[in-house]
Amino acid sequence: MSKKIEMDAKEQEWVRRAQQGDTQAFANLVKENQVFVYNLALRILSDPVEAEDAAQEAFVRAWLALPHFRSMARFRTWMYRIVVNLCYNRLPHLRRTLAELDYEDCSELSDVRSALPSTTTDPESSVLVEERRAFLHQQIDNLPQSYRLLVMLRYQEALPYEEIASVTSLPLGTVKTGLFRARALLRNALQGYEEERR
């Protein structure tokens, strides 16, 4: 926890210095956030070359807009917003698809993470769990871009729903509906996988 607070303080200092034109401080911010930014771009765009270009452009835009950055917002969240907007520009259908998601009751969408049954003592079960995990990762790769974007922000970047809504410029209900449907698609695929396996 104290490490996180220390990191936040360091990041704020880098942001402050970068706002005044210190490129070394900005280089530190790039190094600290490059994995998240590149990963998000790659998962949405599905093309390493385009993802690298988009991630680089996101950092350049951040540098240019940094004097207007309000340090109340977290730098990383701000970067996510820039990346998502760049992806919207590159994939015009992405925003449309997300905006067209109808509202659905998502009361089943839980914030609590279900725990896997322990398999450490059973090697056979461990292999099965690994296989199932690999299958599901492949299914996440195959999700429509709009759902993958929401899944990335929610589960990989661990953003709260409200922050995802802010980053993607979508209503909160749309975010929840998208995540609910993404989970439903994955659940169906998993059920099919389990049926096939038996």
């Binding site: 590149y38 950092f59 350049v60 004097p67 896997l116 769990v129 899944v151 994955l186 998993l190 038996r198």
Partner: protein
């Protein structure tokens, strides 16, 4: 006989596990260096907050007006000063009478407030829009 599927909870747990362990991919080597090359290339394009001549002119005008009012107040002969005070008082009385025009009173106040807000917004817009354009360019 059809084999049973794992319980619903196990499926949900497997789903959660897969979502949270979805691998993070690292950028290609030298990524941050290439970003910094592009950043360095933008030197000079970065907007810097600066005051324009209009800001200085407005500040001087406001200062002159405030100083002028204070000076005039100081150098006015006592009998003129008394007349001015009397006029202000009578104006406030006229306003107080106007404010008592029965049912029109709240509407007039509302209209006056709206006009003042509108004038304020117009003035703010006139002063701020060129500045925002300047910063964005």
């Amino acid at each position: 006989m059809k084999a049973e599927l794992p319980p619903e909870n196990d499926l949900e747990a497997a789903l959660d596990d897969a979502l949270h362990t979805y691998p993070t991919l690292s950028p290609p080597p030298g990524f941050s260096d290439r970003v910094m090359v592009r950043v360095e290339a933008t030197q000079g394009q970065r907007p810097i907050f600066s005051l324009s001549w209009l800001d200085y002119a407005l500040s001087v005008l406001l200062l002159v007006m405030a100083a002028g009012t204070w000076l005039v107040w100081q150098i006015l002969p006592p009998h003129v000063l008394a007349q001015v005070k009397l006029q202000i008082l009578s104006l406030s009385l006229v306003y107080a009478q106007l404010a008592q025009i029965g049912r029109l009173h709240p509407i007039l106040l509302l209209l006056a407030a709206m006009l003042l807000i509108l004038a304020g917004l117009l003035l703010a817009g006139l002063l701020l829009i060129p500045k925002i354009r300047l910063l964005r360019s």
